[in-house]
Symmetry: C2
Subunit: 456 residues, 2 copies
């Protein structure tokens, strides 16, 4: 019986036009990755479960897609869990592999596994899909691409500078003017917690602070109070709710606020270094801004934290992010391998470019010329010309059947093929071709060489 075809929720088919547009973005990102000296690696779609489990918190573990063992998997199932019908407990005994959840943990695993063949500092990029068993919603998918660039093996701040420049270079190449690269530093957040004497509440504190944009100063204060942060502590830190002015003006305020925190001062110095260099060699189209509310990846970032937001007139979450992590590879037994990396949000960048109509029209162009099929002899004549065009890298096609003229012309129109060639008995006799411009309707009689010239 015929099935009504569908795909799993949260996944997508991509049509030729969509693939072309996505490849346009991938291409621009990849080109800049290369120009900046990053090298590509690829890792398997699934990893051993113990490589992934426990790396993303309890919620993350739940969202990892597990692959069922082959064969008689129940025979090896954990007996107690089976008896108790405990889905959570039985999983590791019937599933040894899982789809990757991000590119960062597989990269850490790669670095440790291949450390002897790898020259450090190692600048790698990776553009591959990841999978998450998240509840699908607008703009959130169960399968999506990540585009990551990381450097491991050096804690030099020049790399943070390069990542700011890389973001700028990519968005400039995409002609997406006016993105804001927001930067913060984990050490500044630690400094805040230190200053208010609530170091154990740093997570609650920063999670609340992160919402300043959405719920405002009063909302943030309320949430902090609810989390047990004292009114006195909040009072001490109050100026951070209203940091104003340029990057350097904010730095100046922070120096005051964090004067008693050594860690905080270190964070300020790092940001200052980055800003000073960028001031010397201005960005092309992006803006660098200091945002102390930025608190992404707090579990693993130890220095710089990046987030990129779309131009102000576009409503969209962040289109990129990243940061410095000091011990990514420690979980796999390799210590002292500091790294820093950034990521591009392909799906959101796609939506932004679509909204701003920034995809060049050439992106979705495909076949340039369709040869009408008038029968066996004419088709052979056409195919010889097609072979010559293809040899010159011109996309050319023969309509496969000698169908009615109207049907063939309709095919060219529906596919937006700009030129059609007609070559019937008369043309063959004269060794000519009739080239028709589908837009203007103009028709030319041309030789084989002229055909090539006209279509080049």
């Amino acid at each position: 019986m015929a099935q009504k075809p569908s795909i799993p929720k949260g996944t997508r088919d991509f049509s030729p036009a969509e693939v072309a547009k996505r490849n346009f973005i991938f291409g621009k990102i990849q080109e800049q990755f290369k120009i900046f000296g990053f090298q590509p690696i690829e890792t398997p779609s699934f990893e051993n479960s113990d490589t992934l489990m426990g790396k993303y918190g309890e919620e993350g573990d739940r969202l990892i897609f597990k692959i069922l063992n082959s064969g008689d998997f129940l025979r090896k199932a954990d007996a107690k869990a089976y008896e108790e019908k405990d889905s959570l407990k039985i999983t590791s005994s019937i599933s040894e592999k899982a789809l990757r959840y991000d590119l960062t943990v597989p990269f850490a695993r790669y670095v440790v596994q291949h450390q002897n063949e790898t020259e450090f500092p190692f600048k790698r990029y990776q553009i591959q899909p990841v999978w998450r068993a998240d509840r699908p919603q607008k703009g959130r998918f169960r399968e999506f691409y990540q585009c990551d660039a990381d450097v491991v093996g050096s804690d030099s701040l020049w790399q943070e500078v390069e990542f700011v420049q890389l973001y700028d270079a990519v968005f400039t190449a995409l002609k997406l003017d006016g993105v804001t690269i927001k930067i913060n530093n984990r050490k500044i957040l630690s400094g805040f917690a230190e200053v208010i004497g609530e170091q154990d509440k740093i997570i609650d504190f920063t999670v609340a602070l992160d919402k300043l944009d959405k719920i405002g100063e009063e909302g943030v204060k309320k949430e902090m109070l609810e989390k047990g942060i004292s009114e006195e502590a909040i009072e001490k830190i109050k100026p951070i709710f209203n940091l104003q002015g340029s990057f350097m003006e904010k730095i100046k305020s922070l120096k005051q606020i964090l004067q008693n925190s050594e860690t905080g001062q270190k964070g300020i110095q790092e940001l200052e270094f980055i800003q000073n260099v960028i001031a010397e060699m201005p960005l092309q189209t992006a803006k660098l801004d200091l945002d102390v509310t930025l608190a992404r990846g707090l579990n693993y970032y130890t220095g710089a934290i990046f987030e990129v937001s779309a131009p102000e007139n576009i409503k969209m979450g962040s289109i990129g992010g990243g940061g410095r992590y000091d011990d990514l590879t420690g979980i796999f037994g390799l210590k002292n391998m500091s790294g820093v990396g950034i990521s591009f949000g392909l799906d959101r960048i796609f939506l932004v470019l679509e909204e701003l109509k920034l995809f060049p029209t050439t992106v979705t162009e495909n076949t340039k010329v369709l040869f009408i099929n008038f029968g066996e002899k004419e088709a052979l004549y056409a195919l010889k010309a097609i072979q010559k065009l293809r040899g010159n890298k011109i996309t050319a096609e023969l309509y496969p059947e000698s169908a009615k003229m109207k049907k063939q012309m309709n095919h060219a129109n529906k596919r937006e093929i700009p030129f059609v060639v007609l070559a019937g008995e008369e043309e063959i006799k004269q060794q000519q071709f009739t080239l028709k411009n589908m837009k203007s309707g103009e028709q030319l009689q041309v030789s084989s060489n002229e055909l090539l010239q006209n279509l080049s």
Copy 2:
């Protein structure tokens, strides 16, 4: 505790050099796909299980990787299967999704699902990974890429002609001379079975015939006898074990052998058409040959059957294959949608190019110039020059730390970076750069513009 990192058996990490070489092959294939008018689509990595199950035979079903349902999956498990601990029977109740096994069934599903937005004939290509829970062995992996081009919506033989030309174009572009495109036709195999009066044994017959290369005429006869094909029948068909000569000479013999089979004659006509066109427009580097022992994909191919073998001096299985199928989309409820397609075996092509040293040395080139880091001031001076180079699409890097000169030069050597720039206090004073060719050892004093010229 630190884990010793590893990856699942049958999967691979790809290093930068490997990714570069693979992308070289993908690039050449993709370029020709486009030139021939094929358009890219992409489908999700996992499909609903019922889209895949039952499409590849019992063995195929077993080799499909199943994804465990999220949450408390045991609660919804088939009660009877659970009680009986029946792994096979329980699977569909605890796993709704599965990783794709090939690109053909997802393509058929795509065509049916999107038939209203699709203009036919539809020429699509697809380059994506597939997964099979096969026993891993040399050259056989559990995750590997398929590169497919198919046309659906027309039964014109011009498409078979184009696929022969497409194979030729790709292998010519890869500079892999001397591949043989072997062609057969399912109707000829049916004709054989008809002639010997053993139509119900066509599978056994062709499976045995397919081994002619390996076990010789006597071996094939022995296997046929064992499968219950009579000596008399085998005697009738004997000439096919020794088909000799050119394509057309073989055709001539076949006309004789299959004179009483209408289906067989139809198959011969189809092959003759293809060969006649190819004779009119000779292939560039490949050879087209008729091989009646070719029996791949017998379950679904209905017309032409293709297989490509590496140049004769290379021991390698087929590096490509395909064929005509008349009812691919029928399983999803869309009748009368004839299709034909071919596939390229990326992993084997990789091994062949490697063995014949056909990868251009430029393929693995990465960073062109490394700037030595002499300290903060010098690094800033360097980074300004780097920015200019990068703006001109030259891959340039700054060593991130002012480490010892020797260490930095070693880094350039290990990464095979061909140029190094030294710019210390003296150079800055003169607004110059010292450009060192790492191969010849030659050093030049150049200005910023000369640096760009030298590296362009």
